[in-house]
Assembly symmetry: C2
Homo-oligomer: 312 residues x 2
């Protein structure tokens, strides 16, 4: 018998889904409270939930062998003061489709002038402005993991050219050409769209900086669905305010919710999507856990294992 | 030597493209004026251009053998009072990609709440409304020609289920299930999105009527990129005003430009895109002509030939 601590703001829904799945030899304790989790999860060997909550109880989970995080980013669990003597797996493979709908929804909104036409419509103006197209455009993916690969696949569907920027890997067949550090300015030159899907790491901090933004054509659009820390927010505001960059769509920010006084609220050609690009869908997340749990019972390697040194 | 009359509002651009293509044994006369065309095109055996202009000079083109229209819809040339003793080909195969970007741009705008989030942003509101998704949704294509087939392909890319409604053909492999007249209400039942790509014909007049709209679920979205005449405009207004239909996106109208007094300008949950869904790209259109011209010279059947009886 294994014992699973479910620590999540959606504890009730997850508990229901786990019970419906009728997994053999698995007892569940579910709560949204770290204090409760410390009391009830003391003898759990497995844990499941949000990294920001689980990091608070980690020192008390003395029997922990494997933790499945429900986020892609596991920053709270990477604190060097925390234990690393357990297997950590994160949420991957469930965000690609949502991210693809998000990114291409905004790219098409931009090219088809959907917001501009909506504003014209409020003024009863027949707006025949010719639309742009994705076809033939060049997209640059800053980070090509499972999400970047899904974006590349959709880009190819729409007839686009695809550049990838990665630490070293070149595993996605839909990427036409790869760039690696330190060639980020060569990567940026000539892009129509730059899409950042990088996690929060020391090496990705402010990778989208003044130099990278200056290397983009003035007609380019920047989308950040990675983490707020990968972007130099001031440099982006300067580029947008001066017209050196055509537009930006931001889902993630250094501070969330974005404070009412933040300059982004009054920056031109900037769209804010309030960290909604890809939500964890509980059904899909339980599926990821159950697949890994079967591997665990068979003694196999788990999918989506996090390397504590790399941070993803 | 063949002689081609180019009659188009973009006559200069088309003439330049034809000259750059250096086609052998082809002399071009280009004008945007029907009066000029009557004077200069009298001995042309070939014609190229907009149906609304060419229909005005057709009786004078006594030597005409083949006409290539630059529109998909050729209604002006279908007037029973006009000659039909020539080969008419229309513009096909060049609109699918644009139509796909248009339709999925609006579907994603809707599911991702892009307009709603834009409005929230104006009020500096952090709007975490959960987005919807295309994945798993059911799209119904009213008309499955070359444009409908491209829409089906993109729908499958996004993990959707696809229904097609056609007169008889079932040739598109991306359509999961076909419906034919008179089963339009069965076709509509359970659709999340209804996309109309039908041409203007007697048989398609007001095919989207009160009954069809009532057969759709209340959460459904209707998109019309076919012709204004296929839709009962009053029935759509009633459905939207009463909340029996979630939304509509219209590119085409019975009267264009839409008059300022039209009720559509003040109908809730209706987006107007001012007949911009798919523009004729001159380079692509010249490519269609040249491909057909080579077939013509070799005595082969031309592509995209219009059946005057069917009207497409």
């Amino acid at each position: 018998m294994h014992k699973l601590l479910i620590l999540s703001n959606q504890a009730d829904e997850y508990l229901r889904l786990f019970q419906e799945s009728r997994v053999a030899d698995l007892a569940c304790e579910a709560t949204s409270s770290p204090e409760q989790a410390i009391l009830r999860g003391i003898d759990c060997d497995l844990a499941f939930g949000e990294p920001a909550l689980l990091s608070q109880v980690l020192p008390h989970l003395t029997g922990l062998q494997w933790m499945q995080a429900t986020w892609a980013g596991v920053e709270p669990l990477l604190d060097p003061a925390l234990r690393r003597d357990y297997i950590l797996t994160n949420a991957r493979g469930i965000f690609g489709a949502q991210m693809s709908e998000y990114v291409f929804g905004y790219l098409l909104t931009y090219e088809r002038h959907i917001l501009k036409r909506y504003i014209s419509q409020q003024a009863k103006q027949w707006d025949e402005t010719a639309p742009g197209t994705l076809c033939g455009k060049q997209i640059g993916l800053l980070g090509v993991g499972s999400i970047g690969a899904e974006l590349a696949r959709t880009a190819k569907h729409f007839g686009m050219r695809v550049r990838g920027y990665t630490r070293a890997s070149e595993s996605c067949p839909e990427v036409d050409i790869y760039f690696h550090p330190p060639d980020k300015l060569a990567f940026a030159a000539g892009l129509d769209y730059l899409v950042c899907v990088l996690p929060q790491l020391g090496a990705t901090r402010q990778i989208v900086d003044e130099q990278l933004l200056a290397a983009l054509p003035a007609h380019a659009l920047v989308i950040n669905v990675g983490r707020g820390s990968v972007l130099d927010e001031s440099a982006l505001v300067d580029a947008l305010q001066s017209g050196r960059l055509a537009g930006a769509v931001l889902d993630v920010f250094l501070e969330e919710p974005l404070p009412p006084s933040h300059v982004f609220w009054r920056t031109p050609n900037l769209l804010i999507s309030s960290h909604t690009a890809a939500l964890t869908i509980p059904e899909a997340m339980v599926g990821v856990f159950l697949d890994n749990y079967r591997r665990w019972l068979r003694g196999e390697a788990l999918r989506y294992r996090v390397d504590f040194e790399l941070g993803y």
